[in-house]
């Protein structure tokens, strides 16, 4: 696997399968770990950073998983390539934008990402398509066990796994699910969801995590508490909440279809029409329209287009992806033209397949 070959594919987690995949795009669990014998990264000089990277690289390349882990030396990558990995959700913005020795091990099909020298020495992440948090936990726990046979992580019997930020201490776990909630967003019911989440100490974020906007009606739900409850308790709680939100979204979708089928169909068809014929289009408008089309497919209002194609388009139409696909640097206005052309081609191709 190299960066070039990645441009031709998409993450397995985008394939649009798995339980509840019409609403739950992907499930993700991450664990924060630090090597016991080193300072955290805020107090780590270049020598320590290099040492932690070297020390962790070995263990992460010999994990008990199917397939091989590919390591990317993020420090040696150009800005465009780093952005590309961020868009694919393989690294965080923080890892892309920081300095010094750092990198990421990526598992086969992009289901596993192991970031070295991010906020903590090691950030493990496992992704799945659809609602599959138990699978994520089963795999990440196994990887964590295997790593612990080779390195000692900072741990205290009272406070659990010790992390650079006190907000992650304990389990070091973040359990999250990315949901596509166009009907709740359209009817503004999503505000009620936000309020409920706040009360339950759960976080809601946009597509690209902290600080990002909820583009394309995608919302990431995750735990904030990491100390006290066990991993399983945190997973179960999020699952329960997600189940409720899924039901809520479905109910509102059904109501929209019953009350406003024609208007909804019109909105979806127009979105599809613009995407299929626009000559220049911004990333923001693309996300907005793709969101309508995605909901339309799930409600049976769009023919000849599949969810995985739409899921991929959300990622492939982002700035770094477009530039990698075209293999050249593009200004914002050039990207808008390239984006429109790419979407026309993909939507054209997929309707031919079905004709």
């Amino acid at each position: 696997m190299d960066l070039k070959s990645l441009t031709q594919t998409s993450g397995e987690w985008l394939r649009g399968t798995g339980p509840e995949s019409d609403i739950v795009v992907s499930s993700r669990i991450r664990l924060a770990r630090n090597l016991a014998q080193f300072p955290f990264l805020s107090r780590a000089d270049d020598r320590v950073r290099t040492e932690t990277e070297e020390l962790l690289q070995g263990p992460i390349s010999s994990l008990p998983i199917k397939g091989k882990v590919t390591y990317f030396d993020v420090n040696a990558l150009e800005a465009l390539d780093r952005q590309f990995l961020v868009e694919r959700q393989l690294i965080s913005r923080e890892l892309a934008e920081s300095h010094g020795s750092r990198g990421v091990g990526v598992g086969p099909e992009e289901n596993i990402s192991l970031m070295i020298n991010e906020e903590d020495h090691l950030r493990l992440q496992v992704l799945r398509s659809g609602l599959a948090l138990d699978d994520c936990w089963e795999e990440i726990n196994r990887i964590d066990d295997a790593l612990e046979e080779q390195v000692a992580f900072a741990f205290s019997e009272q406070l659990g796994y010790l992390t650079a930020c006190p907000t992650n201490v304990g389990t070091g776990i973040r359990v999250s699910a990315m949901l596509h909630l166009p009907a709740l967003a359209l009817t503004k019911e999503i505000q009620k969801v936000f309020q409920a989440m706040q009360k339950m100490r759960l976080a809601v974020r946009g597509l690209y995590g902290e600080g990002s906007q909820a583009m394309g009606d995608f919302y990431q739900f995750s735990n904030q508490v990491t100390l006290g409850p066990s991993e399983q308790q945190l997973i179960d709680k999020l699952k329960e909440v997600i189940d409720g939100i899924i039901k809520y979204e479905r109910r509102v979708r059904d109501e929209l279809v019953v009350k406003n089928r024609q208007r909804l169909h019109d909105q979806v068809a127009r979105a599809h029409g613009i995407l299929s014929s626009a000559q220049t289009i911004t990333s923001e408008e693309t996300m907005h329209l793709l969101s309508s089309v995605r909901m339309g497919i799930n409600l049976g209002l769009v023919d000849g287009l599949e969810i995985p194609t739409v899921n991929e388009l959300f990622i492939q139409t982002q700035p770094a992806h477009l530039q990698k696909l075209r293999n050249e640097k593009l200004e914002s206005s050039e990207r808008n033209v390239a984006r429109a052309a790419y979407i026309r081609k993909r939507l054209g191709d997929s309707s031919h397949e079905h004709n």
């Binding site: 630090n34 016991a36 080193f38 300072p39 955290f40 990264l41 805020s42 107090r43 906020e119 726990n141 964590d144 066990d145 612990e148 046979e149 000692a152 992580f153 900072a154 741990f155 205290s156 019997e157 009272q158 406070l159 659990g160 796994y161 010790l162 650079a164 930020c165 006190p166 907000t167 201490v169 304990g170 389990t171 776990i173 706040q198 100490r201 976080a203 974020r205 902290e210 600080g211 904030q224 508490v225 990491t226 100390l227 006290g228 409850p229 066990s230 991993e231």
Partner: protein
């Protein structure tokens, strides 16, 4: 009457701390509510360019006015508050409270971790600790913070594979007690009775080991 209530602030990351309130520096006077968090936000002081560490929201005749000040400017601001009022005046009390709090904070700020050398003030400004030992060095300050963030201060999740057998059992005990508490809260008395038996068995096993 003027009222100041708290506030806002963005420690490591805003959302994570959204519900976080620190008790160790909190205080109240009749007219005033003021909270202070141990890690500074990235916000700058409204009067100079230093990082703001005090965030005051004044409610004046129904208007909300937010002030973000560094310590020096906060002291200056408070000493300029109308003088000459009775000493039991809430505003005076408020001023005194803040001054005391700044003093306390100053002492805490200077303390440092013997292992990595980070000061508490540095932790407050960047929101990141320096090394695993910082959790011990700043235990008194961190425990209330953790309580506020997480609502708990005892880990009950995963234990490293390489943990010694003895601490593994101790940990099992902690977990069982935790589950017992939840069971009692949920009024699942049958389960609670079962858990209590398990705890007793484990406790006596650990006790016998201790006698050897």
């Amino acid at each position: 009457m003027d009222q100041a209530a708290i506030v806002v602030w963005d420690p490591c990351k805003l959302q994570r701390f959204a519900a976080c309130r620190l008790t160790w520096l909190d205080f109240q006077s009749p007219a005033v509510q003021y909270h202070r968090h141990p890690v500074s936000s990235m916000r700058k002081c409204s009067r100079c360019s230093k990082p703001a560490t005090l965030h005051i929201t004044e409610l004046k005749d129904g208007d909300v006015h937010a002030l973000h000040l560094c310590e020096a400017c906060a002291q200056d601001y408070l000493s300029n508050v109308e003088a000459g009022q009775a000493s039991d005046d809430p505003e005076e009390l408020f001023k005194e409270h803040i001054e005391n709090s700044i003093e306390d904070l100053h002492d805490v700020d200077q303390s440092s971790c013997p292992n990595c050398g980070i000061t508490f003030k540095e932790f407050r400004s960047q929101g990141r600790l320096g090394c695993p030992q910082c959790y011990l060095a700043f235990e008194n300050e961190l425990l209330p913070l953790l309580e506020n963030i997480h609502g708990e201060t005892q880990h009950t999740g995963k234990l490293p594979q390489r943990a010694p057998e003895a601490s593994r059992r101790q940990f099992e005990l902690i977990k069982l007690r935790n589950r017992l508490r939840s069971a009692v809260d949920a009024e699942s008395y049958e389960e609670a009775a079962k858990l209590r038996d398990e705890i007793q068995t484990l406790e006596s096993a650990l006790g016998e080991e201790g006698e050897d």
